[in-house]
Amino acid sequence: MSIKDKRNQVTAEHVMLVVLLALSAVFLIEPIVSDYPDDARVFPQMTASVVFVGSLLLLVRNYLPDPLYTFVGESINITTSESASEHEEELTEREKEIERETGPKRTLGRKYGYEVNDTVFMMVAATLYFFVGWAAGFLFVTPFFVFGYTTWFRVRPLIGIGLAVASTIVVYLFIEFLILPLDRGAIFDFSPFLPTAFDSTVLVAGVI
């Protein structure tokens, strides 16, 4: 098998297991390097050992001898009866059928010939929202995120604008009532530009 073939066989689960291996290795080594006292060291190292060994076994499970493979890879279930499992399988099949019938979503990207996976788009949009929100404050970023997201998925513009406004109001209410600095970012501070129209009484009256 060529390296290219092997690379094609790598799934997201393999990536996840490698991340877990690396993370557990840090939890095993760091207490030694930083000389943690026993009562701060034993428990994390104990749990990290389980994660490390378990992840390693799962990563190489296809190459394990039979008895060990059974322990690592075999699915077991003690509560679901056979007939219940059959019904669950039937339902999953039906769900898949519905998925096949409905086809892909209508997005702005697809309209202009760009194929972007919907989950990836959601993940990237949320990550951007987090970082820009951290840098510039959630209050100012929220309407752009909500309107941008709904526009991408071609939700009616009026609904998108309504949702963006409603979400911004919710963020503002958090600032007003829970005294959270969501109008200030770690890098940019746009709070002085906050319009006076954003007065809490006006907002509450508006919501009511």
């Binding site: 997201a12 996840m16 993370l23 760091e30 943690y36 006292p37 009562d39 428990f43 749990t47 990290a48 389980v50 994660v51 378990g54 799962l58 059974t70 322990f71 690592v72 890879g73 699915s75 077991i76 279930n77 003690i78 509560t79 679901t80 009866s81 007939s83 219940a84 019904h87 669950e88 339902l91 039906r94 519905i98 998925e99 409905t102 892909p104 979503k105 989950t119 788009f121 959601m122 993940m123 949320a126 929202y129 987090f130 959630f138 929220t142 995120f145 909500v146 997201y149 709904t150 939700v155 609904i159 949702l163 979400s167 919710v170 963020v171 958090f174 829970l178 959270l180 600095p181 969501l182």
Partner: protein, 499 residues
């Protein structure tokens, strides 16, 4: 003392604003449950940080009411659009949707409302009745037993959820491991913080719950198309539907018992109980049944099992801090966030709060009948909401909610990172509940682990001492048997020639 606490519990449950939050929770639960892809764990996880300004009792009653309401709400989408609002309503689609297609949508919804509420009502009474026994059991537990119970809980979860046992153990241990980030419990040593002050308090378990349930679920939902519009006519009779439940008392009762017992097993939850109840009914009524084609017993069984599962899952959650499902994991998070420790305290000094919760469940089922039966004619509208409208709103609420906890950006980052991890864990069949249990119980397990070692002078034999600590020995043995049992049994059978 228990009687005094019970009376006080009634007073708390019917007092303002507790009763108000119960009604709000139920309505919210019904709506969230009816939206496919949302359901109770997601709804509860989003609401959890928003309960910070509330008093502990109101917050817990609100969360439990969302859980209970979502159980009924899930059946609306299952019956009308063949897409269960919650996983626990999946079994209801098997006969609920055919009933609706046969022109009996109102009957099916009325059956779901009545069976769910009636058995929920009976299960709440049972919960109150068995609580004195629980108090005795809980008080027999010490530090070694609590540590071993956390391990046993994770082990149980790994075998009751489908998939490899090693995946479950890795998930649980990962949760424990993540919970150790931050200042040490017994000595003020910053652990795995790498000089970042934001990590000194560790990763908030509430942020982990939001990430694992709300954000991960939204990632899954992003790939799904718009929630289907109802293609059934809202015809039939609500009254006939209600009467149908009483026509099959055995089915209703059996489903309730199955629901409550399975609910008590950590990790099994309502998805398992509803399918087991459905399968049992289909088996026992095979002769005259027409299951899969709109048999009302096919709706009574899963719906009669779902709400008792809520009560059942409260037993391990409140007694030992071992949640029975994703929703009870969030509820446990709520208890801890509001300073309520599951175990002896909830069954001792704070027994009145426990009773108030049970009584709220009891009252909540009356509200479910009243609200449920009156919303039936308009039920189809709830299911028509577009997922692309729900997702950005949930993302905003998840991030803001996480920030609200400690005004710590690392908590918001944790929502994002653990959300992605949760998405892939679900996709590859790793137990999210075991992970969440690990992260929630981590500090409790670590503290009890060290207290046990302090008691024993550093000897690990305290966990395996059949003479002085028989309970801890039994728990340790049970854990070993649970993990190795499913693999050893076929081999033992084969060796004895019984295979």
């Amino acid at each position: 003392m228990a009687v005094d606490a019970f009376v006080e519990g009634i007073g708390i449950a019917v007092s303002w604003p507790v009763i108000g939050w119960m009604v709000v929770g139920l309505l919210l639960g019904i709506i969230l449950g009816a939206l496919p892809g949302i359901g109770s764990p997601v709804g509860m996880a989003i609401v959890l940080p928003l309960t910070l300004p509330l008093d502990a009792t109101s917050a817990i009653v609100l969360l439990a009411a969302i859980y209970s309401g979502a159980m009924f709400g899930g059946s609306i989408a299952a019956i009308l659009i063949n897409a269960p609002g919650t996983e626990s309503a999946a079994a209801t689609t098997l006969d609920g949707y055919p009933m609706a297609k046969n022109g009996l949508a109102k009957n099916a919804l009325a059956i779901a409302t009545t069976a769910s509420a009636l058995n929920g009502f009976l299960a709440a009474i049972t919960l109150v009745l068995i609580s004195p026994i629980l108090i005795g059991v809980v008080l027999a537990f010490g530090s070694p037993e609590y540590f071993l119970l956390a391990i046993l809980g994770i082990s149980l979860i790994t075998i009751v959820t489908q998939g490899s046992i090693v995946k479950g153990l890795v998930a649980g241990a990962l949760g424990f491991m993540i919970s150790t980030i931050g200042t040490g419990i017994l000595s003020p040593t910053p652990r795995f913080t790498f000089g970042q002050f934001g990590l000194y308090d560790g990763i908030s378990f509430v942020a982990a719950l939001i990430g694992m349930f709300a954000f991960a679920e939204m990632m899954k939902l992003a790939a799904q198309d718009m929630i289907a519009e109802s293609d059934v006519e809202m015809t039939g009779s609500i009254k006939d539907g209600v009467m149908t439940v009483f026509k099959y008392p055995k089915t209703t009762f059996k489903a309730g018992v199955i629901g409550m017992l399975i609910g008590m097993i950590p990790g099994s939850g309502a998805t398992t109980s509803t399918f087991v109840a459905y399968a049992e009914e289909a088996r026992s009524s095979a002769e005259d049944g027409f299951f899969g084609e709109g048999d009302p017993r096919g709706v009574i069984a899963p719906e009669g099992a779902n709400n008792p599962t809520v009560s059942g899952s409260l037993v391990p959650t409140l007694s030992f801090g071992i949640p029975g499902s994703g929703s009870t994991a969030v509820l446990l998070g709520g208890l801890l966030m509001h300073g309520l420790q599951p175990g002896p305290t909830l069954f001792g000094d704070q027994l009145q709060i426990t009773y108030a919760l049970f009584i709220s469940l009891f009252l909540g089922n009356i509200v479910i009948v009243l609200v449920g039966l009156s919303v039936i004619p308009y039920a189809s509208r709830i299911t028509e909401l577009d997922t692309d409208i729900i997702i950005p709103v949930v993302v905003v609420l998840s991030f803001i909610g996480a920030y609200t906890l400690n005004q710590n950006w690392y908590d918001v980052g944790a929502v994002l990172a653990l959300g992605v991890l949760g998405f892939y864990m679900v996709r590859y069949n790793y137990s999210v509940i075991a992970f969440v249990l690990g992260i929630v119980l981590g500090p409790i397990a670590e503290e009890n682990f060290f207290r046990s070692l302090q008691i024993s002078g550093g000897s690990y034999s305290i966990f395996f001492d059949p003479i002085n600590r028989p309970l801890s020995f039994v728990l340790a043995l049970a854990t070993i048997l649970i993990i190795t049992g499913p693999f050893l049994k076929p081999r033992i059978d084969r060796a004895l020639g019984r295979a």
